[in-house]
Symmetry: C2
Subunit: 335 residues, 2 copies
């Protein structure tokens, strides 16, 4: 038995409070990770607030974890005590279904989430299947790289999944926790990168992060002027968009890809037919894409821009996320 | 000058009446085709009724044309008088823009339609750029193959564009003019093919055309029972669907592709994210895909099932289309 010191919420929207729980003997395919830092993702907030009606309390969030392997199960093939690893949205998958066996472990029907099927990384320890404990390249900072494990892979995976070419004109919609990483990935991917946000206040940071161009959508016609321009619009917001405006900004064969969980998409079909356009969505990424993402981030110097809080100040950190002013990701640090 | 004997409608929803018009001297990249037969596509009806608000009267429809090359312009590289060719939705494109030069002539911003930018194939003659006059393989019947030129390419093109594998489980939604060709193409493509229709009355024909399985959607839960099953659902209807029902029937990474022009698509985003699903649309096809489609149809014995009317009975033929009972395509025949 291992006693874990965590922070848990006991009701929807509740405060985080110190919470201790016990873990059983380590499974033979499992690793136990001593948490060094943990990013706060918007989905931690959605889960805290029980927005998706799947939260079980006491709830321990946290799935942008960087940590040190504390112990490994008897049959773990590739990790050893002391290795620095990251753990993201998923903690384990069955490893034998068609999806797992073809490398799409994130689409496994039995996939288990780090905060949906167990207690997460707002804690001193967390466990996962060895495959979902991703070795962190030495060049990445263990204190600030946690956001790559969920926010990062979520925006990186579509570039691989849909074979986005460095020739593509890509727009990143929403410059926040995910968007600020998307700008860096798309720039390093070789694309022509445009940042799209409501107002212009974030333009300097967006350009610094890799945007060649910037469009403000509120009270301007800049989006309309970009009609037919983008091969990919990567929507990182969960806003209820005027989807037709964005589909109009797509080039022929263009893709509006959303990783933000708006409730509904609604669009006129005729312009999509004429321009052979598509709308698609995706969740985080599979294991090989996570490995590739971490190596790509390391090689290209892609770094989350974060605001750090000690774990003891988790409630203040969530306030910062809730009011939307964090630039760009809040990360909790172990002492 | 060439005098053309055609049938034209003079107002929205009007009857077809004999109509003569003059064509100027043949352009040097153009071919003039003597019409042998012409299928009637649902979009001829939409144009007749001015559903898309772009019809100019007098309106001469007809864009599923098979004919004999009657004359060729001075600089036509690859056709000669007497060749049997087909002409579909598009009659010409600029041949120099980025889309044309990359082979996507159907997405050319200046593309000109056979019935939208000129008078179409309900006539004894029609003209087009040489590239859009497709040589018809000798094995295909000139009297019945017209529907391949629009209906056929519209359902064939997505198989190529999206790299559909013979391993895919494909469902064809709507077994009519397009759907009955889609079943044949998908079966010959090597896929596992399911036909989806409202009722069961069309099941025998659907199975004969290549469907391995059949789902009826009205007053059954067969679609719900197929949850997570299809890699591709090819929607050939223009009905206002309950889109979420069909997205639920997609496997992970599945695609709901519509070639039918419903007004709007509206779907819940969360299931699309979780299953990495997409919604897409496309118009007819480009020149190389039309060539490939005709050769593929020839090689696999894919044949439109048609009801034939002489050109003089065009109004009766349209009645047959309007009441939706044609199995599966109505084709007008020159005498």
């Amino acid at each position: 038995m291992t006693a874990v010191q965590a922070f848990a919420a006991h009701e929807a929207g509740g405060n985080w409070e110190p919470f201790e729980y016990e873990l059983p003997e380590l499974g033979d395919q499992e690793v136990e990770v001593e948490v060094l830092s943990c990013g706060i993702c918007h989905s931690d907030l959605s889960m805290l607030d029980n927005e998706w009606k799947i939260t079980r309390y006491p709830f321990v969030g946290g799935h942008e974890i960087i940590g040190r392997v504390a112990s490994v199960g008897a049959n773990v093939p590739s990790l050893k005590t002391g290795d620095i690893v990251g753990v993201g949205w998923n903690a384990r998958s069955c490893m034998c279904c068609d999806q797992c066996i073809s490398g799409n472990q994130n689409l496994c029907p039995q996939v288990e989430g780090t905060i949906t099927h167990q207690h997460g990384g707002f804690a001193d320890r967390v466990r996962c299947h060895w495959s979902w404990a991703l070795p962190i390249p030495a060049e990445l900072d263990a204190r600030t790289s946690g956001p790559l494990l969920c926010g990062g892979i979520t925006v990186f995976s579509p570039l691989v999944e849909y074979g986005i070419s460095p020739l593509a004109r890509v727009a990143v919609l929403g410059i926040g926790g995910l968007g600020h990483l998307a700008l860096q990935f798309c720039r390093a991917w070789g694309c022509e990168v445009t940042a799209i946000s409501r107002g212009r206040d974030i333009e300097p940071e967006a350009r610094q992060l890799g945007a060649h161009d910037f469009l403000a959508t509120d009270q301007t016609d800049e989006l309309e002027a970009a009609a037919g321009r983008f091969d990919l619009i990567l929507n990182t917001t969960n806003a209820d968009l005027d989807w037709d405006r964005y589909i109009a900004a797509l080039a022929s064969k263009g893709r509006l890809h959303t990783v933000g969980a708006a409730a509904k998409v609604s669009a006129s079909v005729f312009p999509m037919i004429i321009g052979q356009k598509s709308f698609s969505s995706s969740p985080t990424g599979n294991v090989i894409h996570m490995r590739q993402m971490l190596n790509f981030a390391s090689r290209h110097g892609i770094r989350p821009m974060v605001e750090s809080f000690p774990f003891a100040e988790i409630n203040q950190a969530f306030d910062r996320l809730r009011n939307g002013s964090a630039r760009f990701r809040v990360v909790l640090q172990a002492s």
